[in-house]
Amino acid sequence: MILREILSAGFLGLAMFFFLVTAVGLFRFRSSYARLHIAGKCLTGGALSSILAYLVVAPRAAVFARLVIAALLLLFTNALGTHAIARGAHHTGVDIDTLESNSMEGTPFDPRRGPR
């Protein structure tokens, strides 16, 4: 019992590390594709780690099965969503070296000017 709880705490620590890396990366990177990259990779890792942390202390078999299905679907949909957003950004003309502003205000959307 003790071993499972220690393992669960370790997985939670791993998830915290992944989420921290994701947050830092989202603020530090300036290009859209780099931000999508860190959102697709490290966020999946963090979510999977936090699911694993509950998986090792799951009380019943039904909870275990649901968590496995949730983990598989998460692994699938996160990559799919990142791919869709990146493809949409590519089609609307966001370049690989277009840097975004990091300010709190955000830039007002101007359809005539466009990102390029």
């Binding site: 299905i69 679907l73 699938f76 949909t77 799919l80 791919h83 869709a84 493809r87 949409g88 089609h91």
Partner: protein, 230 residues
């Protein structure tokens, strides 16, 4: 000028609220919850007290709520002209098309499961219906590239399903009236309640759950299709 006025008004709202809170204490001190949850299980046979309240004690309110959804979808369908506008101008990649096709059955099964198991676990007709309609959103976004708005169900079929679910709900209420109870009565009409906690329990509650789920799902799907076609 306007910003100053807004700051003044919202600041006075916050100050007034916090002052009232500090003067009167918290709400939980004033109102003591009475424990009637166990009585809910005895009365209706459903172990989820929220579903029991929604579909037994306050079932008439649920009927009115379904009417509100019906009215909203009617008004939106009246506003939208029947044009074949499409959301996207870019063709989606093969990865997304086949990935969503793999993913959609899971979403639908989850929605139907939430509806059917509504009286023994968290969930119910409203939540499951919204999940079903979100699968319609995915259909409309992903598979409506060529201006074809509803890929799986035509709009007319959605309307018929919505009306049929409403009819089933209303006529299930008449069972209680004909057997000597009130409208939408459950246990008073002599329907066997079953063992609490099993799937076949709660008398009329699972049937009303299913009818409400189809009603809410198809109503919200019609609203979404109308917003798309606007």
């Amino acid at each position: 000028m306007r910003r100053t006025l807004a700051l003044l008004i919202s600041g006075s709202i916050v100050a007034l609220g916090v002052t009232t809170l500090m003067l009167t204490g918290t709400l939980s001190d004033a109102i003591r919850p009475v424990d009637y949850t166990l009585r809910t299980v005895r009365d209706t046979g459903a172990i989820n007290a929220v579903t029991a309240i929604l579909f037994d004690y306050r079932a008439l309110d649920t009927l009115g709520e379904a009417t509100v959804i019906f009215a909203a979808s009617s008004v939106l369908a009246f506003l939208a002209p029947r044009s074949s506008a499409s959301m996207l101008s870019v063709r989606l990649s093969m990865l997304i098309l086949y990935g969503i096709a793999f993913l959609l059955p899971f979403i639908m099964v989850f929605g139907f499961g939430t509806i059917v198991f509504g009286h023994v676990s968290p969930g119910g007709g409203f939540t499951g219906g919204v999940m079903l309609s979100s699968s319609v959103v995915i259909f409309a976004v992903v598979y409506s590239v060529g201006g074809q708005q509803s890929y799986v169900l035509p709009i007319l079929v959605k309307k018929y399903v919505e009306n049929a679910a409403m009819f089933v709900f209303v006529s299930l209420g008449f069972i209680g009236l004909f057997s000597g109870g009130a409208y939408l009565a459950n246990a008073l009409t002599g329907i066997p309640l079953g063992e609490p906690g099993s799937l076949l329990s709660g008398g009329l509650i699972p049937l009303l759950n299913i009818a409400t789920g189809f009603k809410v799902g198809m109503g919200l799907a019609l609203i979404i299709i109308s917003l798309f076609a606007e």
